[in-house]
């Protein structure tokens, strides 16, 4: 699967355009952004969030694909400071929520509890992102009128949306995801536009 297709899939399944790598507001330079403190504990948490979204089945899950490493790199290099802040606050929030609900940290919660929490966050994120989009609309329209839509930068999406997007990005570009969960054909050698498949066959990737 090519990159653009992956970004489309992510947008479709998270209800938001891929966060990070959008364009910057003039005058909002990211000089010396503070280094983002990804501790081993945080990486472990992110791997478990990822694994809850994409668990190990007959193919490896998000943890085996080390999605937390990709999250760390993308958040550090590609997110704007405001997005980084929202992401890191989210990391904290997940444990706050988990403690409130289950009396333990997310990584210590049972798999079913983790699922329950993330499903709740998904609902919360949907509402939150709609509000953020509504808030952004006049700014976006104004830039569009000046023919400068490329300078638009969205307000941070809900932290769970970011985590889910990064999980999907990382997993479906990882060796584990592409070669085990999908049918990876790096050099097809030929083209067949009427290739027969059966129900349940894995999608091709490249």
């Amino acid at each position: 699967m090519d990159r653009r297709e992956l970004l489309k899939v992510i947008a479709l399944f998270t209800g938001a355009a891929m966060v990070g790598g959008e364009l910057i507001l003039s005058g909002c330079k990211s000089d010396n952004p503070r280094p983002v403190p990804f501790t081993p504990d945080i990486l472990a948490l992110l791997d478990e969030v990822g694994e809850t979204i994409i668990p190990e089945t007959d193919s490896p899950g998000a943890k085996a694909a080390r999605v937390s490493e990709v999250m760390k790199t993308v958040v550090t290099d590609c997110y704007w400071p405001e997005q980084q802040k929202a992401f890191m606050e989210g990391v904290h929030h997940i444990d706050v929520e988990s403690n409130a609900r289950f009396g333990k940290k997310f990584v210590e919660a049972a798999p079913q509890q983790r699922k329950e929490l993330l499903i709740a966050l998904e609902e919360e994120a949907k509402k939150y992102n709609e509000e953020q989009n509504k808030k952004d609309e006049p700014r976006r329209e104004a830039l569009k009128k000046q023919d400068k839509e490329f300078d638009f930068i969205a307000s941070p999406k809900h932290y769970y949306t970011m985590m889910k997007q990064l999980t999907l990005l990382a997993y479906f570009s990882s060796e584990e995801g592409l070669t085990k969960a999908l049918n990876y054909i790096p050099v097809p050698g030929r083209y067949d536009g009427a290739y027969r498949i059966k129900k349940g066959d894995k999608a091709f990737s490249g």
Partner: protein
């Protein structure tokens, strides 16, 4: 100094420059090719061509630094870490936007021949006649018949896959076996033909990807990876590196110098000819002179004109070719980014194996034969049908969700119009009076916009796409206009147009500068109108034709 004397100098190494070098060297001339950027070796320097997606630590996401250092490139898809070193350094080579202009440049050996979309179409006979018939701009000094044999000549060498359709609106060429349409596209194409009584057509986009090996050029046929952008280790798409450069080198007549920025043509006012070029070395800033009997200016449209603007200014303050009053005027591009898409029901038992390097093409049907619109000219469509990935399930995470994300999704079909832009005298590039680049050279100032004709056309580009998709049986059709700024098509044309009269054109019918007949401009700068089809094949044909003419004239001692 004696070392710097050649029969011919070719400025630029992209599609036009590569062809000029090959043709001139094969005809026995000692040729020097000057490239302003670095060397880029075939295969060896395609460093990302065989990388797997997981080898990119950010998995292709743009970094803040990339965005901040690429104020132009960031505006659209070209800003991508996989090809970051294939686009110009914007800090070193700025320009001024009086109006927004997105200028995507490739300053390295091979230029944008390594990055191009490879779509390869002939202009039709009406494209060459329209300006004269409609009283627009100036008449082309050539007709389809003049260029047709040269289209054939370059198609055979470059290798163009495509299917013959027998349409006047998009003349057939010398094709390699066509890449296939997929099963959905084939059915939709039949529906289209039926619905419009054989007046609208959809077939595979003709492209410079070889479907049979070309052992004489050391090129292997396409492997359907669709990674052309990264440089093809198989040499399966046409580029300077894969095709014209090796042929030119094989003659033993070609010298190549990289990192040489040509600053002006040296002009002798007594003989009314250029005697050579002046260049500065991009790395050490030293100035070099090179002498030659003929010069091919193929530096990409705007940079070719920039060189003319800086030449012979003691005689013509606005530069060589400015006596016409048209140098720097009539900028064109193709406007696009609007069309429609939708989903196709069924075909669940089929998928595509392999990734094609070309989609479908629907040639122009507006203002053709008895069709009349309230604007001039027309547009074609590029697009295709494909299967998405992932099906929607109620679960938002977990095993069922994962499973649903790993299977093929629905088929969808989309198309984007590519429209002709008229040559407007007031759409210009000029030398800016203040700003300089890294080497202290003046930079260009862009003042280009689309006007009513293009805006009216865009409505059709969107609405016609919707109507056709629905007629073909596509469901849930949606339309879009993502907006267009000049330059986004990366098809810069005009600024030194060909014509019949030195008072209204910079070049004659053989691409000679009227005021310096041993100077030939054969890249996008020479275009008198833009058609709606991708232009590179036309640059190839015009270049080969001009090179043939130049060598004959040289032998007759006419230049």
């Amino acid at each position: 100094m004696i070392d710097n004397v050649y029969d011919a100098i070719v400025i630029g190494s992209g599609i036009a420059g590569g062809w000029a070098a090959k043709e001139l060297a094969e005809k026995g001339l000692k040729v020097l090719m000057l490239e302003r950027g670095r060397n880029h070796e075939h295969i060896k320097d395609y460093v990302n061509a065989n990388k797997d997606p997981w080898e990119y630590p950010r998995r292709g996401q743009r970094t803040r630094e990339m965005i901040e250092t690429h104020p132009v490139l960031k505006r659209d898809y070209p800003l991508d870490e996989r090809v970051l070193n294939m686009w110009v350094n914007e800090q070193e080579s700025p320009y001024v936007e009086e109006k927004r202009f997105d200028w995507y440049r490739g300053y390295h050996l091979g230029g944008r021949s390594l990055l191009w979309g490879r779509q390869s179409y002939r202009f039709n006979k009406w494209d060459f006649e329209a300006n004269a018939k409609e009283g627009i701009a100036a008449d082309w000094p050539i007709r389809y018949e003049d260029i047709a044999p040269w289209y054939s000549y370059v198609e055979r060498f470059a290798g163009i896959q495509g299917s013959k359709q027998g349409l006047e609106v998009l003349p057939d060429g010398e094709f390699l076996p066509a890449v296939e349409m997929n099963i959905v596209e084939k059915d939709l194409a039949n529906n289209l033909k039926k619905h419009y009584q054989n007046k609208r057509h959809m077939f595979i986009g003709r492209s410079a990807n070889i479907t049979l090996p070309k052992p004489e050029q050391n090129r292997v046929n396409c492997q359907y990876r669709n990674k052309c952008w990264l440089g093809c280790p198989f040499g399966a798409y046409f580029s300077t590196q894969s095709s014209t450069l090796p042929a030119a080198k094989a003659t033993g007549n070609l010298s190549v110098e990289v990192n040489k920025i040509v600053t002006r043509l040296l002009y002798d006012k007594d003989s009314k000819k250029a005697t050579g070029v002046e260049a500065i070395d991009a790395e050490n800033n030293r100035t070099y002179d090179y002498k030659a009997k003929i010069i091919f200016v193929c530096a990409s449209a705007f940079n070719s004109t920039w060189i003319l603007m800086n030449s012979a200014t003691d005689i013509w303050p606005e530069g060589l070719g400015s006596s016409s009053g048209e140098l720097g005027h009539n900028v064109m591009d193709h406007h696009f980014r609007c069309g429609a898409g939708g989903t196709v029901e069924g075909y669940e038992e089929y998928a595509e194996y392999g990734r094609r390097p070309s989609g479908i093409y629907i040639p122009r049907f507006r203002n053709v034969y008895d069709d009349r619109r309230d604007y001039l000219r027309g547009f074609g469509y590029q697009g295709g049908a494909g299967r998405g990935r992932g099906v929607e399930v109620p679960e938002m995470l977990g095993a069922e969700f994962k499973e649903a994300m790993c299977v093929p999704g629905k088929w969808h079909m989309g198309m984007t119009g590519f429209g002709e832009m008229l040559p407007y005298h007031e759409n210009t590039i000029k030398l800016d009076k203040e700003q300089k680049d890294k080497w202290g050279l003046p930079v260009l100032r862009m003042n280009v916009e689309i006007k009513e004709n293009e805006k009216k056309m865009r409505v059709d580009m969107m609405e016609d796409a919707k109507e056709m998709l629905e007629a073909m049986g596509v469901k849930d059709v949606w339309t879009y206009d993502s907006g267009y700024a000049p330059g986004m098509g990366i098809h810069e044309m005009g600024t030194a147009r060909m014509g019949r009269d030195p008072k209204t054109s910079v070049l004659n019918g053989n691409n000679q500068v009227w005021d310096a007949p041993n100077v030939f401009v054969t890249d996008g700068a020479c275009m008198t109108s833009s058609s709606c089809v991708n232009p590179s094949l036309t640059y190839m044909a015009l270049t080969a034709r001009a090179a043939d003419f130049a060598v004959k004239e040289l032998k007759k001692m006419n230049i």
